[in-house]
């Protein structure tokens, strides 16, 4: 069976697949919300979902316009505070997966959502951290979803908002940080990280693209194993859930 799907839908499905039942997941804005609720509605019904501002286990009516929208807090089991979610769950060390979107990332999974350009010269300021730095610092592992473009997957980011493996090797651990990035999911491929050097490593290529296309659109050379499989495509049921239930207004899947 050949299904039509968008690259955003594939990213959401790939993200969902990285989550296991019973995990505690801190979710950032955008596609991570779609991916997380897809997992919850399929193979991970006992997952606990956290939004930084004080929300546990909502059943969103839609993805809303963002975390400030009561549509995404709908039917939550807990409505509390930053200190309760980012402090007593995340900083305490109880978050299994932090699920973030990114503007720019480098080969060690360091994320920039603060500024584009030269921080000491001309730059354009963006959204900043929110809870992203906190999640990237204290979650047991982090998954990043972002667009695959050479100007976004950079050798070095303009500004490290949320640290990945910092300068590679054991530099993250030496900075006193737990966990670290486990996956980067783009619209062309899925990456992991080398266990020793902590460099980004190609894990799978999306069906619609090629290895050359993946590598030509990156600002650095990831580790590429000899055999790289294709990413598993979405199922009809996953697409139906995304389109009819999770993001019917196609806010994030446009």
């Amino acid at each position: 069976m050949n299904l039509e799907y968008t690259s955003s839908e594939l990213m959401a499905v790939a993200g969902a697949r990285e989550l296991s039942d019973g995990q505690v997941v801190a979710v950032g804005l955008g596609l991570p919300i779609v991916a997380t609720f897809l997992a919850k509605l399929t193979h991970a019904p006992n997952m606990t979902i956290l939004f930084e501002l004080g929300v546990i286990d909502p059943e969103p009516i839609s993805t809303g316009v963002g975390l400030a929208d009561p549509r995404v807090w709908h039917r939550a089991k807990v409505l509390s505070s930053f200190v309760d979610i980012l402090g007593a769950v995340l900083h305490k060390g109880r978050v299994d997966v932090g699920f973030l979107g990114g503007l720019e990332a480098d080969q060690y999974g360091n994320i920039n959502t603060t500024l584009i350009g030269d921080p000491r010269g001309k730059f354009r300021h963006m959204i900043g951290s929110g809870g992203a730095n906190d999640i990237a610092s204290s979650a047991r592992k982090t998954i990043l979803i972002m667009r695959h473009e050479a100007r976004k997957l950079k050798q070095a980011v303009s500004f490290i908002t949320s640290p990945g493996y910092v300068g590679g090797g054991d530099s993250r651990m030496r900075a006193g940080l737990l966990g670290g990035p486990s996956r980067v999911i783009t619209d062309k491929a899925i990456f992991g990280f080398d266990p020793t050097t902590k460099q980004m490593t190609l894990l799978s290529i999306h069906p619609s693209t090629t290895r050359e296309d993946v590598l030509a659109n990156m600002g650095f050379a990831p580790i590429v194993p000899e055999r790289v499989p294709f990413t598993e495509p979405p199922t009809a049921e996953q697409l139906r859930l995304i389109r009819e239930q999770i993001d019917p207004q196609r806010t994030y899947l446009g």
Binding site: R71, H74, G128, G130, G176
Partner: protein, 299 residues
């Protein structure tokens, strides 16, 4: 003690140069009527803090009321960016101390409990920390855990002069309930010298005494209470009204240039004498009725 005053009187209690913490998060429970009155009263050189920068601070920055921000990043969610905040940072006219949500929340928490400092894992190995240390080395320090010898970052307590908090329900003493998530609001109020409560509804203290577990802001911290329906418009107040998408879009459109923003201010801030005139200008009872929250859904 009855602390009910007009918005104008509450705002007049804030001198230029104050450090004010605001209760908004992106486009919800923002201190919009408050910000408009601050602009009309020409209060200047404010330091504004909040965990997540919101529409309230962007309006204040755009109107030139803000000298310094202490915040953890922010946006207007899918509607757009904090364009005035961003521009102020880009052209150097705004001093911005940028943290993360938890590091601001912990700074308020330390302030609220009278702690001299608070250790945190966040910010380490990030450029947020590097830039904060460059900006003002007195705000962040490293400290050795006396029990393990590990190195930690230590943050200074954040101690605003006044916290302005938009709530759904309060009594005339300022005992207040917040429905929905409270993000950093309860720590802000406790860390601040005093608080101004802006309430959609004022209830008798008898009502407060019926469910005292819900009183997340005790009146003893509150100096002024303002009863002001739709005070957060065009942002939302959970269980009271939804955001006004058209009006937020009009704001985002106005962010484009100095001129378009001046026109926005003339129309919605300077061109109205108070909150009631503002509400008429954005469509009056007919428009506001359309925004009223569904009693089950809460928006």
């Amino acid at each position: 003690m009855n602390k009910l005053v007009t918005l104008a009187d509450a705002v007049a209690s804030i001198p230029s140069g104050s450090h004010v913490s605001l209760s908004g998060f992106a486009i919800t429970r923002c201190n919009m009527a408050f910000a408009r009155e601050v602009i009309r009263q020409e209060i200047k050189r404010l330091t504004i803090s909040q965990c997540v920068g919101a529409m309230d601070v962007d309006l204040l920055v755009g109107a030139g009321a803000v000298e310094r921000m202490i915040y953890g990043g922010g946006s207007l969610d899918r509607f757009g960016r904090l364009a005035w905040v961003n521009r102020g940072i880009e052209d150097g006219t705004l001093i911005a101390e940028e943290y993360s949500s938890l590091s601001i929340a912990f700074r308020y928490l330390a302030g609220s409990l009278g702690l001299p400092f608070i250790p945190i894992r966040s910010l380490a190995a990030s450029d947020l920390m590097k830039r904060l240390q460059e900006q003002d080395a007195s705000q962040i320090a490293t400290i050795t855990d006396p029990f393990t010898g590990d190195q930690w970052l230590a943050l200074k307590p954040l101690l605003p002069n006044v916290s302005v908090v938009q709530v759904q329900v309060a009594d005339e003493e300022g005992n207040a309930w917040i429905l929905g998530p409270r993000w950093d609001n309860t720590e802000q109020v406790r860390a601040s010298k005093r608080a101004i409560v802006i309430a959609e509804e004022i209830v008798s203290t008898e009502v407060i005494r019926r469910e005292p577990e819900r009183t997340v802001i005790p009146g003893l911290l509150v100096s002024h209470v303002v009863h002001l329906p739709f005070a957060a418009h065009p942002t939302s107040v959970y269980r009271a009204y939804d955001y006004d998408a058209e009006q937020i879009e009009a704001y985002v459109e106005a962010q484009n240039t100095r001129e378009s923003f001046r026109a926005y201010l003339d129309r919605y801030v300077y061109g109205v004498k108070d909150h009631w005139e503002y509400l008429e200008r954005v469509g009056g009872t007919k428009r506001l009725s359309a925004l009223r929250a569904d009693p089950i859904l809460g928006y």
